[in-house]
């Protein structure tokens, strides 16, 4: 998989021959091409969908980096070095977003022309607020690793369910629901992080 999107044909910067948009290397002279402005999903040859196989994504990431990482261009011309760095930067950025369920949800919303959640600092969902308060209280009071484990196990299950629900909402094009669930995922992710820190404090004592 050494290409990621098929669109307009343009001249290769090196051999001046035709290159299809999204091609990583020129078919004729094999020169590395600029990363172009394509969305993160297309960069990995994926459909714009929330569900994805993270292990498969990682394999693609490694495979693409094997070809594009600047270390492969140490003997090349400065122009090729620059392009490889730009490719690797774009690949890192896309991978960081897509592998993370929360960032992926936010990004997919914005790619689809909806409002993302990254600038949303207030939560208006009263049910979510109540749940967050209660769980946080329980965590504060937890004095044993077992209690924290129970809380983090629940949070982990909740995260898994939430991710599944987000995927479903996106599949059914219920974007408001997806957005609401993504905000819940944001809270759950934070909670999971807090249980991890709390557990670390208890374990290390």
């Amino acid at each position: 998989m050494l290409k990621n999107d098929k669109s307009s044909v343009h001249p290769c910067w090196s051999c001046k021959g035709p290159v299809s948009g999204g091609d990583l290397f020129c078919e004729t002279c094999h020169a590395v091409q600029p990363p172009g402005h394509i969305d993160h999903f297309s960069r990995f040859g994926l459909q714009k969908a929330y569900s994805l196989d993270v292990d498969g994504l990682e394999r693609s990431y490694f495979e693409l980096q094997r070809h594009l990482h600047p270390d492969r261009f140490a003997n090349k011309t400065p122009k090729e070095k620059t392009l490889s760095q730009q490719q690797a930067v774009s690949l890192n950025e896309a991978f960081e977003v897509l592998k993370d369920p929360l960032k992926r949800a936010d990004y997919l919303l914005s790619v689809l022309g909806m409002t993302g959640i990254s600038h949303d600092h207030t939560v208006n969902d009263p049910v979510l607020l109540m749940e967050a308060m209660e769980t946080r209280e329980a965590l504060m009071e937890a004095q044993s690793v077992d209690t924290v484990n129970a809380l983090s196990d629940k949070a982990r299950r909740d995260v898994r369910d939430c991710v599944r629900a987000i995927a479903q909402a996106f599949d059914q094009e219920q974007y408001d629901e997806a957005r609401k669930l993504a905000l819940r995922l944001k809270y759950l992710t934070k909670l999971l992080e807090e249980t991890r820190q709390h557990k670390a404090r208890l374990v290390m004592k």
Binding site: S14, K16, P18, T28, H69, D71, A74
Partner: protein, 631 residues
Amino acid sequence: MIETVLLQIHEPGETPLPHAGDSDLAVGIDLGTTNSVVAVSNDETPEVLRDENGSGLVPSVVAYAPDGSAIVGQLAKQLLLMRPETVISSVKRLMGRGLQDVKSISGTLPFEVIEGEGMVRLKVSGKELTPVEISADILRALKERSEDQLKQKVEKAVITVPAYFDDAARTATKDAAKLAGLQVLRLVNEPTAAALAYGLDKEAEGLYAVYDLGGGTFDISLLRMEKGVFQVKSTGGDASLGGDDFDHAILEYFLTERRAKFGEEKLTTDDVKIALVTGRMAKECLTENDSGDFVLEFNGQSSKHTITREKFDELAAPLVDRTIDICRNVLEDGDTFPDEVKGIVLVGGSTRVPLVRKRVGDFFGQPPLSDINPDEVVAVGAALQAEALTVGSDNLLLDVTPLSLGIETMGGIVEKVIPRNTPIPVAKAQEFTTYQDGQSAMAIHVLQGEREMVDQNRSLARFILKGIPPMTAGAARIRVTFSVDADGLLTVGAEEVTTGVSQEVAVKPSYGLSDEEMAHMLRDSMVHAKEDMEVRLLTEARVEAKRVMEAVYSALHIDGKLLNEDERAHINVVLNKLDETIASDDRHTINAMVEELDRETQVFAQRRMDKGIEEALTGVNVAKLESAIES
């Protein structure tokens, strides 16, 4: 004639560089605080370059003779006891640092520092030298060792740096290499280099921690190793914590005993240098023995001191605890618990200290791996990477930024632009606006670190954006892009978004050398600086010419039928001329011929584009591309 040219088609990447000779060889260098090591790898078989006694370690000690020449290594180390005023050791601790940083490293300094702004300067043998120049002397000695043993010129190297080195220290290292006449193919983080050497050697797979305690720096990295991929998950450390601090702790203990006997004493920098050697001897002695006796002698008074392993453990404990705290943070950053780590690789001479091994083992719940030479593994990894970069390799090193990168905002608060542990290379853009009508310039202060306030982080540089087009306040939108390359080095670019005018970025590194200083040092250090520059430009011109030729060959191979015989013959004539020109030593002629080839192939390029677009419209191209990808 025509046919012979067409037969010269190579697969890209398989073509040797034009007129590449032996100078293409690259070595791996571990530029350490205490010792440095140089290694070379052939066919993935790395070899440490040793002296006649079989030692691969070159002490990172430099003595300056009265004529100004530098003596590096074992001899300089011996001179340290006889002529301390001429000798500098542990200079790595000062890389990319200012006077205030140096003063806060430790109580009793073995350096005579000169007051001033920016990068610290040292006084030695009556000369004023920067850490960059002193490091360059060490690198020069390593370069000579390589050239003597490999019997060829060595001009390229992979140099390792502590993962926790900030941008200033990395830049300083690269500058030192430049002064020494070495082209740095890549700066590789020490724990990553160690993991590369260890992983390839032991075929290790899974999650590994590399605990690297050197002479002056501490690093801990959490890596995933899998089928030739070495992916750093998180990294942390302390750029001023290392074996030297153990020496200092022992010395302070001895000095306290002395004060009880002789009262307050005034020690010169030279006294400290010698006393620290005693401190180091004591530390090394206690690795094997339960106690040892040592003598300190200055101001005509000698004192005898006994130290037990137990006492040393007590002195070292706070330092070792600091490393364990950092391990904890790195595991947390990597979302990992100690028992999920498959193995702990120890790197650096200071991991020989028994207390270090014990504490590390306790923390991870398993004994650390010690079946590798902690002094040489980093250089071996660097050599493997040097070979990978010059010859090629399937292995992949994916590293991260060790420290968050931010900018100063209102009220002296740091706004993070690139958080720590972000995979590199990375680029992030941030938009700024003007706050005055017609404002044409803007200052940006870049910092590195995890704290919230500006003065708690390290200042990297101040940038001044100039040439902002005149607009009302708040109307200009200046997009500043911060890029960190695979070496972990930062570059900044800026552009006014509404007009597309790119902005001039003037850099004032906080602790680095300015371009003028660097140019001056290069002039001083290299008699042939100008010629070297010419050689570099010539090589670049040849590489570029070769690329253009290959591109045209490839195009002819695939689309040659778009030309009639005359046109084709015409292009071949120019190709032949360029091929002949490449052999010449005149880069101007080479560049001119490249331009001519470009002109001569313009019609050809146009026809190829027309054909490509036509094919895309008829859909032929898609099927052809798919099959090309499959193969």
